[in-house]
């Protein structure tokens, strides 16, 4: 069949479709925080769809305090070399130079993350300016749409990272889903007012009202520590989950990671979730979010 014409058009990289489409491929999967190549391999072995390379998991960032920044490029490259699945990495909010560095390293997704210390208290990075797609956190629909307006190609509900407590993840995902459901019932007149209230572009608000979902993939993050937690977020409407400290701060990371992958796929099958939950060893200790001082609530970062 050598008579077929080859297609000569120049390829177009970094389009919205290519960026958002990448997140579509991650759906139904688990993205795991890892701090070195060895953990990245454990995550890949367990069936993670991607890993998030960072220097300290959120639980340790909490413990250590101080300013949390982008990871060492060496460490990110070691992780890229160690696994064949996609590698994500975090930049500080508004720190577009960290994002430029991450893009130059060839990471597959940049998380402009509230888990790191914000670099700008007013502006998030202009994510349209990058070829590498971005995922951003949100606690409500308005915040999600503002991030999408800035170019985010994937949204994760924020939760409260590094606590091992799923309560904030549930709150934020429910908030986003409820606000979307409410929009569905609005007529055109009401959508203008809704856009004003959400502090989001009218076109995006209208698109969400029509689709009944965000125009990008929605994952859940921040507090997932058990297979049942992951399945809960899926049943509440998350299209996949990020697990941070929950795996590598637990007694048996390899086993827990594989168990969370299973429960994320069969999130609606309690028997499989039960089997996945057996003999996992100790879960991470966990923090009660209502005892967290205001300044230590990462979800309040970003606006």
């Amino acid at each position: 069949m050598s008579t077929l014409p080859d297609t000569p058009q120049a390829p177009e990289t970094g389009t919205a479709r290519v960026k958002r489409g990448m997140a579509e491929q991650l759906k139904g999967g688990v993205i795991m925080d890892v701090v070195n190549a060895e953990q990245a391999k454990i995550a890949e072995d367990a069936g993670a769809v991607a890993v998030m390379a960072l220097e300290r998991v959120p639980a340790d960032i909490r413990k250590d305090g101080g300013v949390a920044r982008m990871s060492d490029p060496n460490m990110i490259e070691e992780i890229i070399d160690a696994v064949s699945i996609p590698v994500m990495a975090k930049s500080r909010i508004g720190h577009f130079v960290e994002a430029q560095v991450l893009q130059s390293l060839g990471v597959d997704y940049i998380d402009e993350s509230e888990v790191l210390t914000p670099a700008d208290e007013v502006n998030h990075s202009d994510k349209w300016a990058f070829t590498t797609p971005f995922v951003c956190g949100a606690t409500n629909l308005g915040e999600a749409l503002r991030r999408i307006a800035e170019g985010a190609a994937m949204i994760r509900s924020k939760g409260e990272a590094g606590t091992g407590n799923v309560v904030e993840a549930v709150r934020h995902l429910r908030q986003i889903k409820n606000e979307i459901a409410k929009l569905r019932g609005f007529d055109n007149h009401e959508l203008y007012a809704a856009a004003k209230e959400l502090r989001a572009p009218y076109e995006l608000v209208k698109e969400v009202a029509e689709l009944g979902k965000l125009p990008v993939v929605l994952f859940s993050a921040g507090g997932v520590a058990t297979p049942a937690d992951a399945a809960l977020m899926r049943q509440l409407g998350a299209e996949g989950v990020f697990v941070g400290s929950g795996i590598f701060k637990s007694g048996d990371p390899a086993k827990r990671a594989a168990a969370i992958v299973k429960a994320t796929t069969f999130y609606d099958d309690p028997k499989i979730i039960a089997d996945a939950s057996r003999n996992l060893g100790e879960a991470m200790v966990g923090i009660n979010c209502d005892t967290l001082p205001e300044a230590e609530r990462y979800a309040n970062r970003g606006w």
């Binding site: 069949m1 297609t7 990448m22 491929q25 993670a48």
Partner: protein
């Protein structure tokens, strides 16, 4: 008019929803398939895009690998996109050592051949057997076909690399028609299913 064929979408992981929508638009009855008993109820199957290592692992864990291989051997029409193409190869390059595939097309597929996400791209693709101009190709960390056996037919190439292949009832593309709103490739597959019925 015959009854529309029932086409499953392997729903272990990946962009299942987009395939369900594209199949429905191409006049098939589409439903997700995660269990052997669900597989038994469909006339044909789509293996979506996703992370092929995860998909392979889940297929093994949940006892889907052998039932899938049996159906493919028995001639069930199958269409795989991206990770799905990898699943339909009889040999893969740059995969994991423990990565299982179903076979179905005599081909060697190179995983992530077009590069990482920064190299992911869109381009118009001439597709043999599909009328109405080139289809929109969305390539995401996409594989390409390194070589095909004598009974496989190359349907599209890009930059010298094979990106769409058919062998009998089995179809595979490196790219993701399900992300474009252009249902012609799904229509082509539904026609394959009807013709085989």
């Amino acid at each position: 008019m015959n009854n529309p064929p029932v086409i499953g979408v392997l729903a272990l992981q990946g962009d299942v929803r987009e395939h369900l929508i594209a199949l429905a638009a191409a006049d098939a009855v589409a439903r997700p398939v995660r269990r052997p008993e669900e597989l038994a109820e469909v006339d044909a199957l789509v293996i979506p895009g996703g992370e092929s290592t995860t998909m392979s692992k889940l297929a093994v864990l949940f006892g889907m690998l052998e039932p899938l291989r049996e159906r493919v051997r028995a001639g069930m029409p199958v269409y795989g996109t991206c990770a799905g193409m990898i699943m339909l190869a009889d040999k893969i390059l740059d995969g994991r050592e423990d990565q299982e595939t179903l076979g179905g097309i005599e081909m060697i597929v190179r995983r992530n051949a077009f590069g990482r996400q920064n190299e992911s791209f869109e381009a118009k693709i001439d597709f043999a057997g599909i009328d109405g101009g080139p289809v929109e190709g969305v390539f995401i960390r996409a594989p390409w076909v390194e070589s095909v056996g004598a009974s496989a037919e190359v349907l599209a190439t890009y930059d010298g690399h094979t990106v769409a292949v058919r062998q009998g009832n089995v179809l595979a593309t490196s790219f993701h028609p399900e992300l474009t709103g252009d249902d012609r490739v799904h229509g082509y597959f539904v026609e394959m299913v009807r013709a085989g019925a």
